[in-house]
Every structure is written in C-alpha cells, then in structure tokens.
C-alpha cells in the first residue's frame, strides 16, 4: 500500500471516528502524552494508530512512548511527560499494580491522567477516568446474537476459549453463558482453549469436529477472538463442511480478517472490541477542561455487533490500514 493511500484511509477514518457531537476545540494545541504498552498484537497496533489519528484530527500534539511491555518504561515515560509539563497523560497500563507513586506525582503536578483499556489497583482519585470495554458484555452480545439466530431450534455449540485463566477468556465465557442460560435448546457441548491463536483454534476445531460425529452435530462455534475463529473456519472447510452455513461462526474483536471471512459468507457475527479508546478519552478530557465536569470513573466502550448485513467488505477495507 502506498503512503498516499494509507494517508487517505487514515484521513477518512479520522473524520469518520471523530464525528462526535460535542466540539472539542479546547483541546487544540494541547500537548498530551500517551504511554502505550507496546505492539504485541494487531489490536494494540490499531489502538495506537487510531489514537494518533484522533489526536491529529483534534489538533493535539501527541507525545507517543512505546513501553515494550515493561512497566518501568511506562513509569519513566510518565515521569518524562510530567517533567515536560504536558497538559494530560493517556496510559494503557501493562499491569494493574505499582502505579500509586507515579500517579500521585502526576496529580501533584495537576496533570489529569486517563487510563485506556485496562484498569489499575490504585485509589480512584489518582486518575480522571478509565476507558475500557466490558468483556462480559462482549460475550453476552455474542450469545444474544446466537439465541436470536437459532430461535427454538436445537443447537449444540462448541467454544474456543482464550488462554486458560486470562481475564478476557473468563469474562467472555461468563457473558456468553449468561446469554444462553434459560435457552434449553442451546447447549454448550465442548469447550477447549485455543490460546487466542489461529493455529490452535484450527487444531482444537479439528478435534471438536472428529469428536462430534464429523462436525454434523455441531450447530455453531463461539470463539473468544476472531483469530481462533479464522482458524476454526479453515478446519470446518477441511472437514468438507460449509462454515457460516453448516456451522455458524460467532466471535469477538472485529479484526479485518474476520470481515474478509464474513464477506465470503464464512463467518456470521463478530462483536467489536473497539481500538478507539482515545475518542471517549479526549471527549471526557475536553468536558473536564472546559468547565471542570468530572467524567464517570469508568467509561465503557460500545460492544457493537457486526453481521454480514454491515458491509463486511467495506469494514475490511477501512480496518486493513490500521495496522491490525
């Protein structure tokens, strides 16, 4: 992709994503520091690029620091921001503990701090607000879609879990189970971990298909992320079945490749984990700076459901440039 087309996509996205109702003119010309965890996943890379685009569209001078998965780097970066006298700080904290000292320093310097996509174990008055998704709700939205999709028909579901013991895996499982509870026709027959990866998702799905009468007994697969769903789709195809028709596929995250599968009729639904955590953060900051309105302590991003009716090809084209 050429730089020009990348820029064009970035520009169109920035306009699309920043079409928020309140004018945030008071952020123009401000300097804001952003301490990002790193770029361990495509989603995080997308979060970084969306944040940069948002800042550019609002005329913010964004100071970006990549912590490469280390808390000490993040603390150093935040201290650096305080020393530079930035107007606000965004942090995507790599771990939950150990933030009190540096957040207190920021508070003493009267710099508002906003947490992105993860929380911290620190007194709530040390940060302005935290913007995050509700993982239980993501699972619930996926489950509710399935409940509506199958109606009264019997449906045997297999689940591809995330890494055993990880918070998103626990929460997304819980949400899905909440949604299908009370619908006796939907049974969660098998559940195994696919470690959030495409390769393991494919391998586990192969096992499920063998174990469930060559896949004939499976009505739907629920994957805790899109990558595992993409792997499962390949396993379903290898078994001579039609993903999306013979076995329904529902997953979470909304990464570009699942939209490609959806456009090909091979995936049925995905719940978005939006990379746009900065948008609500800037909105809250703008209101706070304008008249001191304290925002809600926990801002929950929307968990939007996408189905083939939502122009998957268009979503794929838009998201592909974000670095997923």
């Amino acid at each position: 992709m050429t730089i020009i087309s990348k820029l064009a996509i970035a520009a169109s996205l920035a306009t699309a994503l920043t079409s928020v109702s309140i004018a945030q003119d008071n952020l123009k010309g401000l300097t804001i520091g952003f301490s990002q965890i790193g770029s361990e996943s495509g989603w995080r890379a997308a979060e970084t690029s969306v944040t940069k685009q948002q800042a550019e569209a609002l005329g913010i001078d964004l100071k970006f620091a990549d912590a490469q998965q280390k808390q000490e780097n993040q603390i150093k970066a935040i201290r650096g921001f305080i020393a530079q006298g930035v107007d606000a700080i965004l942090v995507a904290p790599v771990v939950a503990t150990g933030w009190e000292d540096v957040l207190t320093e920021a508070k003493e310097a009267e710099i508002p701090v906003i947490l992105l996509d993860r929380g911290v174990d620190a007194p709530e008055d040390l940060y302005l607000t935290s913007v995050a998704s509700d993982q239980v709700k993501e699972g619930r939205v996926a489950g509710e879609w399935l409940v509506a999709e199958v109606g009264d028909a019997d449906c045997k579901v297999v689940e591809l879990q995330g890494t055993v013991g990880s918070t998103p895996a626990i929460n997304r499982k819980q949400g899905f189970e909440e949604a299908i509870a009370g619908h006796a026709n939907i049974v969660l027959a098998r559940s195994q971990t696919g470690d959030f990866t495409r390769a393991k998702g494919k391998e586990v799905m192969e096992g499920f298909i063998k174990a469930e009468n060559g896949g004939a007994d499976i009505c739907a697969v629920y994957a805790h992320n899109d990558d595992m769903a993409v792997g499962a789709i390949q396993a379903i195809k290898d078994a001579g079945l039609k993903p999306g028709t013979d076995i329904k596929v529902v997953s979470i995250d909304a990464v570009p490749d699942i939209f490609a599968a959806m456009a090909a009729g091979e995936a049925n639904a995905t719940v978005e984990l939006t990379p746009n955590m900065a948008g609500p953060a800037f909105e809250a900051l703008s209101a706070y700076l304008a008249d001191g309105t304290a925002p809600e302590k926990f801002i929950i991003t929307e968990s939007k459901l996408y189905t083939p009716a939502d122009n998957p090809q268009g979503e794929y084209d838009t998201r592909k440039g974000l670095g997923y």
């Binding site: 559940s191 195994q192 391998e203 490609a260 670095g323």
Partner: protein, 334 residues
C-alpha cells in the same frame, strides 16, 4: 538376528505411543476411525501425524544439536521469522518457489549464526541460541509489522494443507526429512562424528574430527528444519503470525528428543525415536481435545503422562520392574 529385531520394536518409546493411543481410544471410541474424504484421509489419527509434524521436523534438527551436547532454543523464533519471510514475499508478489527458497535460506543463515557463536566463538549453546530466541521474534514482528500477514497463494497453502496419496503434506515432509537425515548421519560417518563431539569435543578434535565444521553443520540443519516447520505452520493457517508461530515449540522439540531417548549429555541419539517422541506429545494433545476434558486439566494430564514415560526410560525404574532388562553378556556381544 530375529531377537534383535523384536527387541528394537519393543522400545519404550513405541510402547508409550501405543499406550497413549490406546488411552485415547478408551476415552474416545472413534479415535481410530479413518475415512476418505475429498481425496484425503480424515480422522483423529491423521490429525495426530498432521499436527505432530512441525514438532517432529524441529525434533529432527534438534536431535543432532543435542547429540553434540548442545541445545537450540531459537527454533521457535526461527519458525516465526521464516514463516514471516515466506508470507510477506508471497504477498509482495514474488513467485512461491522463490519465497520458499528465501525462507529456507533465512533459516539456514540463522542456524549458521548459532553455529558460528557455538563453534567459533565457543559460547555455550544455551546462551548462544537464547540470542536468536529473543531477537528472532522481534525480527519476525518487524517483517510482518506486527500484524498477521494473510495470503491466498495456492502453492504455498498446499505445503501446509495439501495431501500426498491421501496423507497430509506436513506429515509427508516430516517423514521424508526424517529418512533423508537419518540416512545422512547413519550411512556416513557423520553420525559417529557427532556422537564423538558430544562425548568429548576436545578428544574428538584431537582425533582429527573437524568439530567446528560439524557443529556449524548441526546448527545449520536445525535452523533449516525450523524454517521448514515455520513454512508448514504459516501455510497451514494461511498467514504468518509473528507473535505466536512456534511459540514455546522449542521446548516441545527438546521434550520430543528427550522422550526419544537422546541424552542431553550428548553422545547418544536417535532421529526416528525423536519423531516418535513428537508423535507421543501430539497424541496426548489430540487425545485431550477429543476426550472433552476441561481445558484447566490440559497441562496436568500432559505433565503426568510425560513423567510416566520418562520414568519408564529411567534405568532404575526399568530394572526395578524387570522391564527391558538386558543380559549384559548379550548386549556386549551385539
């Protein structure tokens, strides 16, 4: 002669493989059912050889390294790098053969780098290969720019998901590689030289063995095998996943080699048995998937089985059970 043949077949590794497969069968009665579908064999047993192939390929290279009293921790990262190279080149429009050859060359280069550190600079293998283990994944992420590079090139995909005479391509590649490398080391003196280096490198050098060259060779072979595994894995999921491809597989490969009876102290090795080791590990993985255990038990079940298998190989336990007790006189006369 006949007795010797039987004894060879009744080694602990093959018995363990049969035992694991039987346990799988008890947990899941259709485990051995194989059907013919879309011009290929289809069944859990086929999954075992297909999914076990990447680790088996790694284990083939790893056996040589461990036989020289070394270890190669970088194979997982090399897999990620080579998968990334193949995928990005195909996406950039290069013909598949060129992309594959480039990826294999990168793997070979990585292996030569390890060999250079170990053989020429005399750095301890665990430290020398740790360099690439850590840096390699970063290099792979640089190549893919942190995202999964998805491709649709039919020729490249065939390497991972195609079939040959009904058998999965990955397993065919692993088998061919095993036969080739086994012939290379056993039909020439190379195997003996590798063992000599593993027992005592200084003595081997004094005896006239080019130990530096041979060490470079075994590490290069390990890198090359990792490249093949990396291409197979990327081709299988039609994408190069720099963050996860080959993650922790170096440990599975070492485990496969150890289950195969190769000594970590060097000097004794078997490539076919390392491949059997890889199949044992995969048979357990596949068994867990079809049995319906809760995922929280995966690692516990695996650990328990591995402890059992390694105990079977322990000389102390072996003699206590009267298992494989060999008459010392007979062993000497062989």
């Amino acid at each position: 002669m006949k007795r010797l043949h039987l004894e060879r077949l009744a080694n602990p590794q093959l018995l363990a493989l049969v035992a694991v497969l039987l346990i799988n069968w008890l947990l899941f009665p259709n485990f051995f059912r194989i059907s013919w579908q879309d011009g290929r064999l289809f069944g859990s047993l086929i999954d075992v050889i297909n999914r076990g192939a990447p680790v088996a390929i790694l284990a083939i290279g790893m056996t040589g390294v461990i036989a020289t009293k070394g270890v190669d921790l970088s194979v997982g990262a090399i897999m990620a790098v080579c998968g990334a190279v193949a995928a990005t080149m195909v996406v950039a429009g290069y013909p598949t053969p060129i992309a594959v050859v480039a990826a294999l060359s990168v793997g070979l280069l990585c292996g030569l780098w390890n060999g250079f550190l170990v053989a020429v600079l005399d750095i301890q293998p665990i430290v020398a290969t740790l360099v690439l283990m850590v840096a390699g994944r970063g290099i792979a992420q640089l190549i893919t720019e942190g995202s999964i590079v998805t491709f649709n090139d039919p020729a490249l995909i065939f390497i991972g998901t195609g079939s040959f005479l009904g058998f999965p391509m990955a397993a065919v590649i692993a088998l061919a590689l095993m036969i080739l490398v086994t012939l290379l080391v056993r039909r020439t003196a190379i195997g003996l030289f590798i063992q000599a280096i593993g027992v005592n490198r200084a003595a081997a050098s004094l005896a006239g063995i080019h130990s530096r060259m041979l060490l470079m060779l075994v590490y290069a072979l390990s890198g090359f095998c990792a490249a093949i595994a990396g291409i197979v894995v990327a081709a299988d999921i039609r994408g190069a996943d720099a963050n996860n491809s080959g993650l922790w597989l170096e440990l599975d490969a070492i485990l496969a080699v150890v289950i195969g009876g190769t000594s970590l102290l060097g000097g004794k090795f078997s490539i076919p048995l390392a491949v059997v080791g890889a199949l044992i590990i995969q048979a357990m993985n596949t068994g867990i998937l079809v049995s319906g255990f809760r995922p929280e038990f995966n690692l516990i079940v695996k650990a328990g089985m591995i402890i059992l298998i390694l105990m079977l190989q322990s000389p102390l336990v072996g003699s206590a059970l009267g298992f494989f007790k060999r008459d010392p006189k007979q062993a000497a006369s062989r």
